[in-house]
């Protein structure tokens, strides 16, 4: 029994770590899509900022500098997307694809140019990366059965970005639903013409949304390279940007529901790692690939309207053309 509990707690603990970048990226996507800009370039922004974070942290010896550079790089990509999809009214999906491919190529070329290696950056030592934090009181609560284990393994012992991710979600909720900017953001994604008529800048609002998304993606990418891992490796984001996109849809563009979806997908990922090669009673061995594919299957089923209905913001993917 205790063994099962510990296993469960360890899996949940891993889920927290796995779902952190998903949370940052899906919140970034939430801002973009709520403003009416589809962002399938989340993956590219994560990858690029992961690489820049690892490079800067290694060169300057500080994870904070790595984080700053990562945010900067991600914002540049976000602005390229903005230029294409807002100012020049191009196809937002094509622009997103371009960003993903650019990131994939640039990270490979720059690792070679800067570090003379194909696709990896130097390993970060000690405090060059974000280390896990032991919360106060672990020693005291540890004596309490069950609760002690939960506090020690599950709640304490993550790095600062994990806590930041979970703090970001209520903040996003507050911004989107309780501030003037949030109201305008939602309006511009549903009915840009009304916003324009009210004398507000549709383009300005959309740029702001993309910039916030750029910052969030930058933190997410930095987390992957310099908190969860200790260096950048080739294609290390491995589709997490797309899983975040799936979580965004699965959570129907609502911060808390998206958080739940992120955690579910993170849990599935952690479970896939733990179940590798394990033979379960009755069912036998579940193929890891099936568990890994589950987020995608679930999203397809949801999108098809078989479990609830996911309706994106109305003006999504449409460039706004001002009438003269």
């Amino acid at each position: 029994m205790n063994d099962l509990l510990l296993n469960l707690i360890l899996t949940l603990d891993a889920s927290f770590r796995v779902c952190t970048p998903l949370i940052f990226a899906s919140m970034a996507g939430l801002f973009a899509e709520r403003s009416g800009v589809v962002d399938i370039g989340l993956e590219g922004k994560l990858l690029m900022s992961a690489f820049i974070a690892a490079s800067a942290a290694s060169v300057f010896g500080s994870p904070w500098i790595g984080l700053l550079f990562a945010i900067f790089a991600s914002c540049i990509f976000a602005m390229i997307h903005g230029l294409a999809s807002i100012t020049f009214k191009g196809n937002q999906i094509v622009s997103g694809v371009a960003i993903n491919i650019l990131a994939s190529g640039l990270t490979m070329i720059l690792t070679l140019a800067w570090f003379k290696s194909g696709g990896i950056t130097p390993t970060l030592q000690g405090d060059e990366r974000f280390l896990s934090i032991t919360l106060p009181g672990v020693d005291i609560i540890d004596h309490i059965p069950i609760l002690g284990v939960i506090y020690r393994e599950l709640i304490s012992g993550h790095n600062i970005l994990v806590y930041l991710a979970f703090a970001t979600v209520p903040l996003v909720w507050w911004v989107v639903y309780r501030t003037r900017f949030g109201l305008r953001l939602r309006a511009v994604g549903e009915n840009p013409k009304a916003v324009d008529t009210a004398g507000l800048s549709v383009e300005g609002l959309r740029y702001k949304a993309l910039l916030i998304g750029g910052i969030l993606c930058g933190i997410g990418g930095a987390y992957i390279a310099i908190a969860h891992n200790a260096q950048f490796t080739k294609e290390m984001t491995a589709g997490q940007g797309f899983i975040a996109l799936a979580a965004l849809i699965f959570g129907k563009w609502h911060p808390y529901k998206v958080l739940a979806a992120c955690f579910l997908f993170g849990f599935l990922d952690a479970l896939a790692v733990r179940l590798q090669g394990v033979v379960l009673p009755v069912i036998g061995e579940i193929p890891v690939q099936l568990i890994e594919a589950t987020p995608y299957i679930l999203t397809v089923i949801l999108l098809a309207g078989f479990i609830g209905k996911a309706i994106p913001p109305k003006a999504s993917a449409q460039p706004y053309i001002k009438e003269l």
């Binding site: 094509v94 650019l102 190529g105 140019a113 996109l245 690939q289």
Partner: protein, 366 residues
């Protein structure tokens, strides 16, 4: 020249040209940033792609894959659909081809096995596209998102099949057993040897001819058949299509099937043509490359062949460049693909305001 004529001239020729040039210029900037002389690099690249027989063979071999995926993306574009799932459709299409090659009676004639292998690729590629198409047409889910998801599903499926089902007994790496000789599409150098000419060995095989044939077929289909007309009409205006009696839902499904089938042909070049077995990631990057090819080729088969050739040159030349210059990795070609997609696609209208403003005074003086 009337204003309309002038606009179509700007949109049809000047803008694409400027866009491609900008993409190349941006690539040159990337070269300078990594301390490589772009002119020197271009020379090596072009020599690598054209300078010697083997290089030409490789160039056309890569071109073949890009023609297939470029056509796939273009057909969907004509119906106003964005098929971002070429990667997955190529992967699963290869499975169809491989299943034919692995399980058919190997004593049959190659004249039978190869067409069946091609059909397998077409069928499985179409199969992988039909679900997203159906969901878009009848359940309202967005084709872009579903095809992205299907790329990952294809990847998971293929890893599972290659690790657990199709792996050759006693083989450690996830790949199938070899195809029988009768399922090999002949190499071009073998064909030439048979005719008494000796040319350098390369992976170029007769799939290249098949790719050209399919380009002609796609051209005929899109511009000279009723279905082609219906597809283009739906892409131009959904409402107009409905009024002229076209059922857009049906068009979506048919178009995506054709698109997926074309992407599914990557497997005949890679598997029946070169590798002669099923293996992981043989499709890598061609599905996304097809987007760049279709955008650059303006969704027309001739444009696609030219754009595919350009990407073939870049692929092969890029390999040689990475070999010659220690500081350049062959991934420069991926950057270039990204830049082409960005400037020919996302930033398609970058120069339009400037061009229109530039031409307005001339227009006024006429």
């Amino acid at each position: 020249m009337t204003r309309d004529r002038r606009l179509s001239w700007i949109n049809g020729l000047l803008l694409p040209l400027f866009n491609v040039l900008t993409a190349f210029l941006a690539t040159a900037v990337v070269f300078i940033l990594i301390d490589v002389n772009p002119i020197e690099a271009t020379k090596i690249l072009i020599y690598g792609a054209f300078g010697y027989e083997e290089g030409i063979g490789y160039t056309l071999y890569y071109t073949t894959n890009f023609i297939f995926t470029g056509l796939a993306v273009a057909v969907a574009f004509h119906a106003g659909l964005f098929n971002i799932g070429g990667e997955g459709q190529a992967y699963v299409g290869g499975l169809g081809t491989a299943l034919v090659a692995l399980y058919i009676d190997p004593t049959l004639s190659a004249w039978l096995i190869i067409p069946l292998g091609i059909s397998g690729g077409l069928l499985f590629g179409a199969m992988w596209a039909i679900i997203p198409a159906y969901l878009q047409a009848y359940r309202g889910s967005h084709i872009v998102i579903t095809t992205i998801m299907f790329n990952f599903l294809a990847s998971a499926l293929m890893v599972y099949l290659l690790v657990h089902v199709l792996r050759e007994v006693g083989q450690m790496s996830p790949q199938s057993k070899d195809f029988p000789d009768s399922a090999w599409i002949p190499f071009v150098h073998d064909v030439f040897a048979g005719m008494g000419y000796k040319i350098a060995e390369s992976p170029l095989n007769l799939s290249f001819i098949i790719a050209l044939l399919f380009s002609a077929l796609v051209w005929f289909f899109l511009w000279h058949t009723r279905w082609g007309f219906a597809i283009r009409a739906t892409g131009k205006s959904n409402d107009a299509a409905v009024y002229s009696g076209i059922n857009p839902k049906k068009i979506i499904v048919v178009t995506m099937c054709i698109s997926g089938a074309l992407a599914g042909l990557v497997g005949i070049n890679e598997l029946m043509g070169v590798q002669h077995r099923l293996l992981l990631d043989f499709n890598y990057g061609y599905g996304f490359g097809g987007i760049a090819v279709a955008l650059m080729g303006r969704n027309h088969p001739i444009g696609i062949i030219i754009a595919a050739l350009l990407f073939g040159i870049l692929y092969q030349g890029g390999m040689d460049l990475a070999f010659e210059m220690q500081s350049v990795s062959r991934h420069i070609i991926v950057v270039m693909q990204g830049l082409v997609i960005l400037f020919c696609g996302g930033l398609e209208y970058l120069y339009r305001p400037i061009l229109i403003r530039f031409l307005a005074p001339i227009e006024a003086s006429e």
